[in-house]
Amino acid sequence: MEAATLNPQAITKMTNTAHSGREAGADRLFRRTSSVDPHVGLGAIARITRMAFRYPLRAGLALAATVAAVLMQLSIPVILGRAVDRAQAVAEAKAEPETLYRIALLLFLASVARGIFTLIQNYSAESVGHLMARDIRNAVYGKIQNLPFSFHDRTHSGDLITVGMLDLEGVRMYFSTALVRTVLLGLLIGLGATLLLSTNLTLGLLALSFVPFAGWRSTVMRLALRRTWLVLQERLGVLSQVMEENLAGIRVVRAFAASEHEITKFEAASKSALQLSHERIETRVNNTSAMTLAFFAAMGLVLYFGGRQVTSGEISLGTLATFLTFMSILQMPVRQMGMMVNGYARASTCGARLFALIDHESKVENAPDARDLKISEGTLRLENVSFAYNGNSDRQAVSGISFEARKGETVGIVGPPGSGKTTLMHLIPRFYDPAAGSICIDGQDIRGATLSSVRQAVAVVQQDSFLFTTSIENNIAYADPFTRSHQIRDVAESAQLHDSVLGLPGKYGTIVGERGVSLSGGQRQRLSIARTLMMKPAVLIFDDSTAAIDAGTESRIRTALKAYAKDRVTLIVAHRLASLMHADRILFIEHGRIVEQGSHDELLRLGGRYNDLHELQMHPSAEMLVRKEDGR
């Protein structure tokens, strides 16, 4: 394969020549282009075919109906030929005119039967496609929901959407547009060939002479289109990513008056996709036209040699009519051969990507002998926990962290940005698995427990929270949608959200917009606190989730949660020391390690980093700034 034309650098080059100058970094936007391996394609095709035959009844019916429809279809030229001959015979008074009625009836019946069988064929084939789509949809959804954070960190959401929507279509269409059509065409040609060759060898050969050519062209086309599809999908992915990020980040674009910059970026992505689209059209058109040409050439030959045979009386005019009609019946499927080939190409690329997703092995999953966590004491214990993103052990985000917290205790966590606070908080509900060390709840290592029970035992109010596009009420009740309404109000009150909600036009029924844009930052954070409170976990984590809430409100939340906190471990990450002063213990984290720990008073007495922070926040004065500068 012309692998050289496919690698990312080549694409980059094309883009850059299309757009000179240091633009947009469009080259860097292209993600790895998987190399094209035709075998992978065949593997995917085989697997899709197997999936289709998971519905043996419908698939079998589709194929059987195809055979029947083909038989009817083939009978029509024969009957027509007979009609022509009979008409001539009647003209020459060698037959009774009444026999024409029988032929007409036969024609009608054959047509109706063909129609009915085609209906059965199409409907069964399409329903196999829809049923497959149902299975794949469920599998994809389940997979996406359960793949760990590390997978989603690496995968752009746009790519997943492409796989889940467009690739699904490619696979769904496979059975009806590719497989059944192949059978149809194969049968038409195969049976037709037998029929024609046995009638008249020369004419038969001539009539079918275009088939090898068409077969060759379609193979060439299949490979070319498959390659083009693969790259095109990727480029369209880049294009939609550029558009999506532009719209989502429109404020930044405006703030930097960067619309020209963005349009350049868009143009680059758009041009490279357009260019490939054109290539795709070219490939398709050239090949289908060539196939049609071959078909007509064969027809011309049949006309000439058949005509000579008719003149010389070797064959009847009816036989020639049969040959010609048969060819005109073949015309449609030959034109559709392009579609069929395209269907294969599409199914194999789409299938390969779908299966890559479905087969993706989750690193964080239930152990084979996983059991539900049993919460008794509610003690959280971290022992020597280390973690690195991407398994890169010399860049540990968290290293050697140990601490213990009992029911009713609150642990505060502070540290500079990037020190590993969020990472640590994400290890406890097992969003990621630690590289070393262990996290235990009541003595049970969470890696040995079922994921679901861990997630229920550990609840996190995340730093930037995703709100669902539904009512406030549904958002609050997300973790437990079968709860009672008064419980929703209770947690909203605890999170100091109730009053704000009453101020909204639709109260609890107000639909929260995309990612919650119609709420203020503070309201959003309170909503995400409220929905976490629904969970009644053994460990409750606030990950810097009160930064947009003013301290007064925050302290009211804290008061409201006093009773609630008695039954569980609470971990609070915050920058505002007032938020965690009251904690039983405070951990100061830097470079993934605990550098100081103790109660607020102990840490102040220690006079270290925490104390500095405290000084800075409480007594910000010029002298302080100077002292800090010297101290560094």
Binding site: A87, V90, E126, Y141, N286, F431, P481
Partner: protein, 630 residues
């Protein structure tokens, strides 16, 4: 649904309601997918995009006519060959001549279809990309008030789905011309060959039309239902993808899979119904084809027998009947493509016609090097909707080179006033002046270059760290990028990343911590090297120590620039030349630290109470002050 978890067992009082809370995907109403077949306004609008390709359109039409004519003439040639070339008394060379003519027709057919398909295909693609570019470009200018209330997903579905169905429409509409021609051509050819036989055959047309029309209304409803079910399901999938972290955190995966399964089943049923309806026409059309052929066999046969027509005519008729139903079938298919395209076209025009809202005045001039960095609010009143203003009669002036802190509780209108400086929105009353010019009289681009902002929510793009810091400041070299990173204290962590400044950021920068993202967006604003620097709570997710370091760097960076800083922490605020206190959209006091302390207002009270942050307004205090202010 799993019966064990339904509402009755949990909540006997509110039957049904609780079940309604368990949903996946948004419950928004689907947009209309079928429009009128023809909408003059939409057509005109789309035509604007086709017009540049007039030549291609002409070529497509010409070639499609040529293609159709060649298609039509093939049965005629066959008929001629049979009647004149294959009779025993035919002159010897004539068959060869006819076949040569046939070859010519086939060659025309080949060239015409090659040219037609590739020209039309390319043109449709080009038009599609042009429309998309126009929409994208337009959205870059539309005011933020529109963007605020429009979901990105919705715009994306217009930029992609709707644009694609326009493409389908353009491609098929040229084919439709061919189909109509073919249909008329066949009718004409049959009438020409033998009008009596033709009329007998053509009686099937009215029957077909009536059946087709009856079918269409029912089929349309089914197609619509399938489309709707499908897009609801896809919406739920998109939600699962974007919200996957929340789903896992709240352990909803298995319940969601169950709910999604229901949506998928609904889609399946709707699609099966639509598919059944789509196929039902096939046997009907085939029955009619069969009857037409039967008519030719009987009537044509009898005519041949009575020597009224030649056999060749009968054969030609049979050929035409084979091709006769194809254009009818594809025309009705194109009918729904057309309806879908009109609905899409309508939605596209909607985007293209969104009012820009905040537009450059015709005589707007550019803010240049000579304009200073002063900012002035004159009696500014502003609200996101007219009824409840967010800023009320605000007056202040920031001189060029000054650093001013803007403080006040959340929701007091700080971010909104910064948005006004950049003219994200227009004021309702009063005026905002930058560099001494009303922002409405200068170009937005030059205003953007004059002001650099760090927004409250750090938004980063997919791309390298370097590209993100540089962003639109094309002039900045790598040194400038590093310098900015050092200034905000980001250099250290960037260097520690696997590929340093060339490390690729994931979607929205999610492979960095939130604080780190905030630092990058800070550096991005420094690189922009503007006269005015606006910092909107740029350090909320950063600890005080790092913040203090940034503050020190800022003092140097702000030399010769105007600084507008929104912040909570006293440490940040104290260093400002002047402090402006906003409360509930009103300016309640302003002055430097010493003056405000002396004034003994809200600021002094807070300061004396040693509140670390101005968000730390205890209730009593703000209530008291609220009364003071009014």
């Amino acid at each position: 649904m799993n019966q064990t978890r339904t509402s009755e067992s949990r909540d006997p009082h509110e039957d049904g309601r609780t079940r309604m809370r368990a949903v996946v995907g948004s419950d928004r109403i689907e947009e209309e997918i079928f429009g009128r077949v023809f909408d003059g306004k939409v057509t005109r609008r789309i035509w604007q995009f086709v017009r540049p390709y007039k030549r291609q359109v002409a070529i497509s039409v010409v070639t499609v006519v040529a293609f159709t004519c060649s298609q039509l003439s093939i049965p005629l040639l066959i008929r001629y060959a049979i009647d004149n070339g294959m009779t025993p008394d035919a002159p010897p060379g004539i068959l060869l001549k006819i076949v040569a003519l046939f070859a010519l027709v086939v060659a025309t057919n080949f060239v015409a279809s090659l040219v037609q398909e590739s020209v039309t295909g390319r043109m449709a693609e080009n038009v599609l990309f042009d429309i998309r570019r126009a929409m994208f470009g337009h959205l870059q200018r539309v005011s933020l008030s529109f963007m605020d209330k429009t979901e990105v997903g919705r715009l994306m579905s217009r930029l992609q789905g709707d644009v694609n169905s326009m493409q389908e429409f353009l491609e098929t509409s040229v084919l439709a011309i061919g189909d109509i021609l073919l249909l008329f051509g066949i009718v004409a050819a049959m009438l020409w060959l033998d009008w009596q036989l033709a009329l007998m055959v053509l009686t099937v047309i009215p029957i077909l039309l009536v059946v087709r029309i009856l079918w269409l209304t029912r089929a349309r409803a089914a197609f619509m239902a399938a489309h709707e079910a499908n897009s609801i399901t896809n919406g739920a999938l998109a939600e699962a993808i974007h919200g996957v972290r929340a789903v896992q955190a709240m352990d909803r995966a298995s319940l969601n899979a169950e709910l999604y399964g229901e949506l998928v089943d609904n889609t399946l049923n709707a699609q099966l119904r639509a598919s059944k309806l789509a196929q039902i026409m096939i046997p009907i059309v085939d029955a009619l084809t069969g009857s037409a052929m039967g008519v030719v066999a009987v009537a044509g046969g009898l005519m041949v027998a009575s020597q009224r027509i030649e056999v060749g005519v009968m054969v030609a008729f049979l050929f035409y009947i084979q091709r006769f139903f194809d254009p009818i079938r594809s025309l009705t298919m194109q009918y729904s493509v057309m309806q879908r395209a009109m609905a899409s076209g309508h939605r596209l025009t909607e985007v293209l016609d969104v009012e820009v809202g905040v537009e450059d005045a015709p005589d707007a001039h550019s803010l240049g090097e000579d304009d200073d960095g002063s900012v002035e609010f004159r009696n500014v009143t502003f609200g996101y909707n007219r009824e409840n203003p967010v800023l009320k009669d605000v007056n202040f002036r920031v001189n060029s080179g000054e650093t001013v802190a803007l403080i006040g509780p959340t929701g007091s209108g700080k971010s909104s006033s910064m948005a006004l400086i950049h003219r994200f929105y227009d004021v309702q009353d009063g005026a905002v002046l930058v560099g001494g010019h009303d922002v409405r009289n200068v170009t937005q681009d030059s205003l953007g270059r004059h002001i650099a902002m760090v927004l409250q929510e750090p938004y980063l793009f997919t791309g390298s760290v370097r590209d993100n810091i540089r962003y639109a400041s094309d002039w900045a070299d790598d040194e400038a990028v590093v310098e900015a990173a050092i200034a905000v204290g980001a250099h250290e962590f960037i260097e520690a990343l696997p590929q340093g400044y060339d490390t690729m950021l994931a979607e929205r920068g999610s492979n960095l911590s939130l604080g780190q993202r905030q630092l990058l967006s800070f550096a991005r604003a420094l690189v922009a090297d503007a006269k005015i620097l606006v910092l909107d709570e740029a350090t909320a997710n950063i600890d005080s120590y790092t913040e203090m370091q940034i503050q020190k760097a800022l003092q140097r960076l702000l030399e010769g620039r105007t600084g507008l800083v929104i912040a909570h922490r006293l440490a940040t605020i104290r260093n400002a030349d002047r402090i402006i206190v906003l409360q509930q959209g009103r300016l309640v006091e302003q002055g430097d630290h010493a003056k405000l302390i002396e004034h003994g207002g809200l600021y002094a009270q807070l300061y004396q109470l040693n509140y670390a942050s101005f968000d730390d307004l205890p209730d009593e205090l703000s209530d008291e002050d609220r009364t003071l202010a009014t």
